[in-house]
């Protein structure tokens, strides 16, 4: 499986990673070589095998519906690089 530059550009955009044009080619080669190595999985017969979706066979546990958290905006905002008052901020989003 080989990835072309356009594919690398597309997934980099999806992953919000700024990749300079000059890096596209080497990245495409690198990722292609990794994907090429991964390709050997296709030879495994997985007919009627149920996928293993997590790391364990336990059952999902539930929490009682009670308010046990929140009310600590200082903790929530403590590490924000640019908070204003009680808000986080981002560059203006035009809707």
């Amino acid at each position: 499986m080989s990835l072309d530059k356009a594919t690398v550009r597309r997934i980099a955009t999806l992953a919000r990673l700024d990749v300079p044009d000059s890096d596209l080619e080497p990245l495409a080669n690198e990722l292609s070589s990794i994907m090429g190595w991964i390709e050997q999985l296709q030879e495994v017969d997985t007919t009627s095998v149920a996928p293993m979706t997590g790391g364990t066979d336990m059952k999902l546990v539930w929490r009682v519906d009670e308010v046990t958290d929140g009310g600590k905006p200082d903790d929530v905002l403590a590490n924000a690089t640019d908070s204003q008052g009680a808000f986080f901020t981002v560059p203006k989003v035009v809707e």
Binding site: L3, T7, V8, I11, A12, T13, L14, A15, R16, L17, D18, V19, L27, E30, L31, S33, I34, M35, W37, I38, E39, Q40, L41, Q42, V44, T46, V49, A50, P51, M52, T53, G54, G55, T56, M58, L60, V61, R63, K72, D75, V76, L77, A78, N79, A80, T81, D82, F88, V90, P91, V93
Partner: protein, 485 residues
């Protein structure tokens, strides 16, 4: 004999007997840390916290405390969030991040009386096998090959943990293991490393790499020390939906069980053509030790072993690509300004993540993307199920499995950097157990001809860490491995 040369078990006895105080022990370690700073094992040292906790431990010891780790100085892998203390995951993107919370595992260690010395170096976001992808620079292995002065890698991703424990800068350390990140560095640094069953240790407050694989575990000088530490680290946590609600066994008590009558599986797939002869020989030696102690070797087959690495390199990057989406410059860490929201995101993440992290995020994004999900991610989950079944089948016939921990001893910093796949092959023996969620431990068992440590890996079925510890103890006793410290 220096204070830093005791094991946890020894220090525990001596602290309780007031042969020395926790403050004295801690000061000895703080001094050793300064002396060993060249290893670059720590990202952050926390001497003030250490002294304060040591003092408090002494007070409790005075009033007869028998808490499991009272006064024991530990290093914490910098993937565990620690309240008020810089937590970086060895990434530029977490610049300045001081969590307002303490991970469950480190809270348990703190509550058991241990003393935090600092935060240990690792591969960025635990992605790596050599601790060379850290934003804070590589960690050096305290071991050197005979007749060479080359700096060697300590393995990874828990390389800071391995180096600090092996080099006498910490009495024990936490590690995390996603595909071998505890066991492989333990082998490279000649110490014991234990990855428990997935679900034993809470993942709450541990920076996530691959959620279905990540497990915390101890890295120590002896098997007994790991049993002591793991006993504290694990237990049910209602804040982690994948944490097991089961009683924590007395791991230390299991050490004395011996291996008499146990069937030990030797998987033929772990001896590929071209396996390093010294590694292969040590493996045979390990089996002989177990045989001498009354165990029976059984040749077994784990037929999907060769597919474990490619499976892992789909599952782990896929989960990581999603887990790392929260590093966006808004609520914590690095932020690179941009004209638009997307520009800010893209610039921040490009500047904040290193090359290996980017590579895995891109791979993960790719294998989950429309049109490829079935061929890669779903396929990998199915193969993962087959790998887990291989182990289930094997454990019908055997009580434990013995393998080498890694295909080689530690290599020089700078080696194997140009080919990601060659680097990934380091984890060939550790990844299958991670995928299956079963426990695994590495015990130092011998040296190469150039004098570098090699480890043997013991695997057991889910929740059977006790048998794993019993086997490890027999190996340790037989190997008489000479530690650096």
């Amino acid at each position: 004999m220096s204070l830093t040369s005791f094991t946890i078990a020894e220090a525990r006895t001596k602290l309780r007997a007031k042969e020395f105080s926790a403050v004295e022990l801690t000061e000895a370690y703080l001094a050793a840390m300064e002396q060993g700073a060249g290893l670059n094992a720590f990202i952050t040292t926390t001497p003030e916290i250490a002294r304060e906790r040591a003092k408090a431990a002494d007070a409790r010891l005075k009033s007869g405390s028998t808490a499991a780790l009272e006064g024991i100085p530990l290093g914490i892998k910098d993937l565990f969030c620690t309240e008020g203390v810089l937590t970086t995951a060895a990434s530029h993107i977490l610049d300045g991040f001081k969590p307002r919370y303490e991970s469950t595992v480190t809270a348990k260690l703190r509550d058991a009386g241990s003393v935090m010395l600092g935060k240990l170096n690792l591969d960025e976001f635990a992605m790596g096998s050599a601790t060379i992808t850290s934003f804070y620079g590589p960690t050096k292995n305290p071991w050197k090959a005979r007749n060479s002065n080359a700096d060697l890698v300590p393995g990874g991703s828990s390389g800071g943990s391995a180096a600090s424990v092996a080099g006498g800068l910490a009495l024990g350390a936490t590690g995390t293991d996603t595909g071998g990140s505890i066991r492989q560095p333990a082998a490279f640094a000649g110490i014991v490393g234990v990855k428990p069953t997935y679900g034993r240790c809470s993942r709450w407050g541990v920076v996530a790499f691959a959620s279905s694989l990540d497990q915390a575990g101890p890295m120590t000088r002896t098997v007994r020390d790991s049993a002591i530490m793991l006993g504290v680290m694990c237990g049910h946590d209602p804040k982690d939906s994948t944490s097991a609600n089961r009683a924590v066994p007395d791991f230390e008590a299991a050490l004395a069980r011996g291996v008499k009558g146990l069937r030990i599986g030797i998987p033929k797939e772990y001896r590929p053509d071209g396996l390093n002869a010294e590694v292969s020989a040590l493996w045979d030696q390990g089996m002989q030790w177990l045989k001498d102690a009354g165990a029976t070797p059984v040749e077994i087959s784990l037929p999907h072993t060769k597919y474990a690495l490619p499976t892992y390199y789909i599952v782990a990057p896929a989960e990581a690509s999603s887990n790392l989406a929260r590093y966006d410059g808004v609520r914590f860490g690095l932020r690179v300004p941009g004209q638009s929201l997307d520009e800010m995101y893209s610039k921040t993440r490009a500047a904040g993540f290193g090359a290996e992290v980017k590579r895995r995020v891109l791979i993960g994004t790719y294998v989950l993307s429309a049109g490829y999900y079935d061929a890669y991610y779903l396929k990998a989950q199915k193969v993962r199920a087959l790998i887990a079944k291989d182990f289930d089948d094997a454990f019908e016939k055997v009580d434990a499995i013995l393998t080498p921990t890694a295909p080689s001893a530690a290599f020089a910093i700078g080696e194997r950097m140009d080919d990601p796949v060659a680097m990934y092959l380091n984890d060939v023996f550790t990844v299958p157990a991670s995928l299956a969620g079963i426990p695994g431990a590495s015990v130092p068992a011998g040296l190469t001809s150039t004098g570098l440590p090699l480890g043997l890996q013991v695997l057991t079925k889910r929740w059977d860490e006790e048998t794993m510890f019993a086997v490890c103890q027999v190996l340790e006793d037989a190997a008489q491995f000479k530690r650096l410290v």
